[in-house]
Symmetry: C2
Subunit: 137 residues, 2 copies
């Protein structure tokens, strides 16, 4: 087999080596222990450091332009079970234990719709009440 | 339960409704039938349309700035098993049957390293020979 370079076996994690994009972000794929993808969110260096440090999913909200401690208001926190980095160090996969649901629409996963036969079809049931979780909107 | 708006049940898939970013792209999370995440790549409108049309994973390569028909040179194609869209229509999750490996480094998944105890640790074995797949580099 051709040897892996430059990463052979084990190396210290250096957050400076992550390939942050021009906005200082990388995408983080969040899935549960069974492999269901719950959401894709973005982390800056601070959010990844805080996620590792606290053991709870922490992101950078591009729309609100602020740190986003998932579940801080809704209680739908994400306890980190494991973290992986990709070959290019420009993406993270994180396994979590999701309290309630991950999606702001009330579903367990943001990916509650399948694409099939030219249609977008909801094939999940909401797991929490968004008004109760976030307040009347 | 609070009702879902504006997407109730089923609606036609309209690629114009996807939230393409300023470069015309969305991230696509690619996982196998068991839920293991193989890679995260980017699709433009043409790549998503071709993926749906052909049933094989097709992306837009940001580094090469061209359509990327995964496996075209290596043979490591991805047969689409299912496609899902997220709440914001700015991300895709795709389940595939992966021939060989997804990663250009020879691993089945691009996420062949875990982050643990401040280290990046390889915890997978290569599944194909990159020289044989891509030619000597």
């Amino acid at each position: 087999m051709t040897l892996m370079k430059p990463y052979e076996g084990e190396m210290p994690l250096n957050l400076d080596q992550m390939k942050w994009d021009s906005a200082g972000l990388i995408p983080a794929v969040v899935q549960d222990a069974k492999g269901e993808v719950l959401m894709v969110a973005y982390m800056n260096r601070e959010a990844l450091a805080e996620t590792i440090d606290t053991g709870f999913g922490t992101y950078y909200s591009r729309s609100r332009q602020t740190m986003w401690r998932k579940g801080e208001s809704s209680g739908n926190r994400q306890r980190v079970l494991g973290l992986r980095a990709d070959c290019d160090l420009d993406c993270i996969v994180m396994k979590v234990e999701q309290v309630g649901g991950a999606c702001h629409t009330g579903f367990y996963s943001c990916f509650y719709r399948k694409i099939e036969d030219g249609q977008l079809k909801i094939d999940a049931e909401p797991v929490f009440d968004v008004e109760a979780a976030y307040g009347k909107k």
